[in-house]
Amino acid sequence: MSQMITQKLMLFFPKCECEKPIIYHLVKDHNLIVNVFRAKVTPEEEGYLVLDVTGTEEDIQGAMDFLRTFNVTINHTGKGVSWDEHRCTHCGQCVPHCPTGALHFADPATRQVAFDDGECIECLACIRVCPFNACASTF
């Protein structure tokens, strides 16, 4: 059996695609384990979805090919929460509020804050507590 891998994705659904049960097909037809972090449908009926998908490389590839048959934008890099390292002053106000350690001190000596977006579950706590507006949500 091939090795299972996990990928974090952000999907953007234009208005016309919002009513289709795409996640259902990812699970049913492509054998993926899906963990949705955050989903939103805007008043313009556009949809945003941030999720982890776990499966074999072939299954994930198949799912991506399936997604591309719709008018869905798949973003592998930019996620729903961003951290602007130039706005960050490395005060560490966010660190105890980040439940997964995605925001953490990279070096105990220089106390530089770093953001590991793979660990981010998009709870948005950092956006509420950052005094310098360094964290932002794409949607």
Binding site: T89, F105, R111, R128, P131, N133
Partner: protein, 421 residues
């Protein structure tokens, strides 16, 4: 990534014979001698983060002879900050009686086209805490950040009109370069020490030290600890009125004791205050400042402020002064205070004192419960400033100055008494 240069004491300029003769004197070095060495590019400069290990290795007597300056620094919100701006005169002239920059009210009760812009002023029509907790996205601190960053800002001003200042209204756009003067004048910066805030209540509270979750779930502090200027000179022996400081990249100075300066306070046996204690009033030319060290602050549920980077050089005049710069985070204690009841009601209760070493571990223990800790002050930026200032001194570009008056050591903080006339 900026690299920090450590320049060892090898470039020492004093001849051995002179060293011996100075060693016996109480005043080992004078300000003039230190400045001569700075000017000739031979000064030995270490940061307050490096000096302890250096003194442990060399011994205090040898280190005091070798080291000329220890640099200290801090970066964090400093609410009592602001700036005087002079716009120059329009044609026809206006004597501004009310004025706004980017819709943030400035104080115009001074000469015709002078204003004072304060860090905590909210933007016009900000709902504040009407929809609690308010977001406070933009205010005085952000205008100051934008000014230093060279952005184009809107000025709107009104006047009642006079014979020589007939204009009644003006709306125009400007940058800091268009102003005659932009002088930062901060009545209270660089608190010597500060409270650690926690929340004893059952609901989330929002404070100037950040969001505090109920039942002591988290704590916040705000100090650079062992790097902080007044913690390295706890009795104000070298830092006084007239001391030249590095204010967000500009060469500014201490113009007075800071407001609420209260040197008479409880101290540890080595002299370190166990509460707020001393403060500095600072001024500097905003046109010389660097935007990464002048940052607007939005504190949910509280308001807006300004975070500033300050560096202060401590001239090593004798062994005692050097010894006090060797203070470590573990020797500095801060009072843990409840901000849901004790602070607002001014009960004076301190739950316990914790050291900055404990705080920096990210977790403290309070009455048997582990509490997660966050900071409002950036040690990372403070460290960067201490190194930038050290490099400027080594290059001979920043001289130390003898204070023209000391900061008071015996002042106590008075309360505001509510009474009948």
């Amino acid at each position: 990534m900026r690299t920090f240069h450590f320049r060892g004491p090898k470039q020492h300029g004093l001849k051995p014979i002179l060293r011996v003769s100075l060693q016996t004197a109480f005043l080992m070095k004078t300000y003039e001698q230190i400045n001569d060495r700075i000017a000739s590019g031979k000064a030995v400069v270490l940061t307050a983060d490096e000096i302890m290990d250096y003194v442990d290795k060399k011994g205090v007597a040898a280190a005091a002879r070798e080291v000329d300056v220890v640099t200290t620094a801090t970066f964090g919100p400093m609410c009592s900050s602001g700036c005087f701006l002079n716009f120059g005169h329009s044609q026809p002239r206006i004597r501004m009686s009310e004025a706004w920059i980017e819709d943030v009210l400035v104080y115009a009760g001074i000469a015709a086209v002078d204003v004072y812009l304060g860090a905590t002023q909210l933007r016009h029509a900000d709902p504040a805490n009407m929809y609690y907790p308010g977001e406070f996205r933009y205010g005085g601190g952000h205008v100051i950040e934008d000014l230093v960053a060279g952005k184009t800002l809107q000025l709107f001003a009104l006047s009642y009109g006079t014979d020589e200042y007939p204009r009644r209204e003006i709306r125009t756009y400007f940058t800091i370069h268009d102003l005659n003067q932009a002088i930062m004048v901060n009545p209270r910066n660089c608190y010597q020490n500060y409270n650690v805030a926690i929340n004893d209540s059952e609901r989330t509270i929002y404070t100037y030290l950040g969001m505090l979750e109920p039942r002591r779930k988290n704590a916040t502090y705000c100090s650079a600890g062992q790097l902080s200027p007044l913690l390295n000179d706890p009795y104000y022996e070298t830092i006084g009125v007239g001391t030249r400081v590095w204010l967000a990249g500009a060469h500014g100075h201490v113009y007075a004791e800071g407001t609420q300066h209260a040197g008479a306070c409880e101290r540890t046996p080595n002299g370190v205050p166990k509460e707020g204690a001393g403060t500095l009033a600072l001024t500097g030319d905003m046109k010389q400042m660097r935007p990464e060290f002048v940052r607007g602050v939005s504190l949910r549920g509280y308001g807006v402020s300004l975070a500033l980077g300050v560096g202060v050089p401590i001239p090593i005049l004798n062994e005692e002064i050097l010894q006090r710069t060797c203070v470590r985070d573990r020797d500095i204690l801060a009072p843990v205070t409840d901000y849901s009841h004790d602070y607002p009601e001014k009960t004076g209760r301190v739950i316990r004192h914790v050291s900055y070493e404990e705080l920096r571990r990210g977790e403290i223990e309070i009455e048997g419960k582990k509490v997660a800790v966050g900071s409002m002050s950036s040690y990372h930026k403070a460290l960067e400033i201490a190194h930038l200032l050290a490099d400027e001194i080594r290059r001979g570009e920043f001289l130390v100055s003898r204070p023209i008056a000391p900061l008071p050591r015996d002042a106590k903080m008075k309360p505001l008494v509510i009474r009948e006339k």
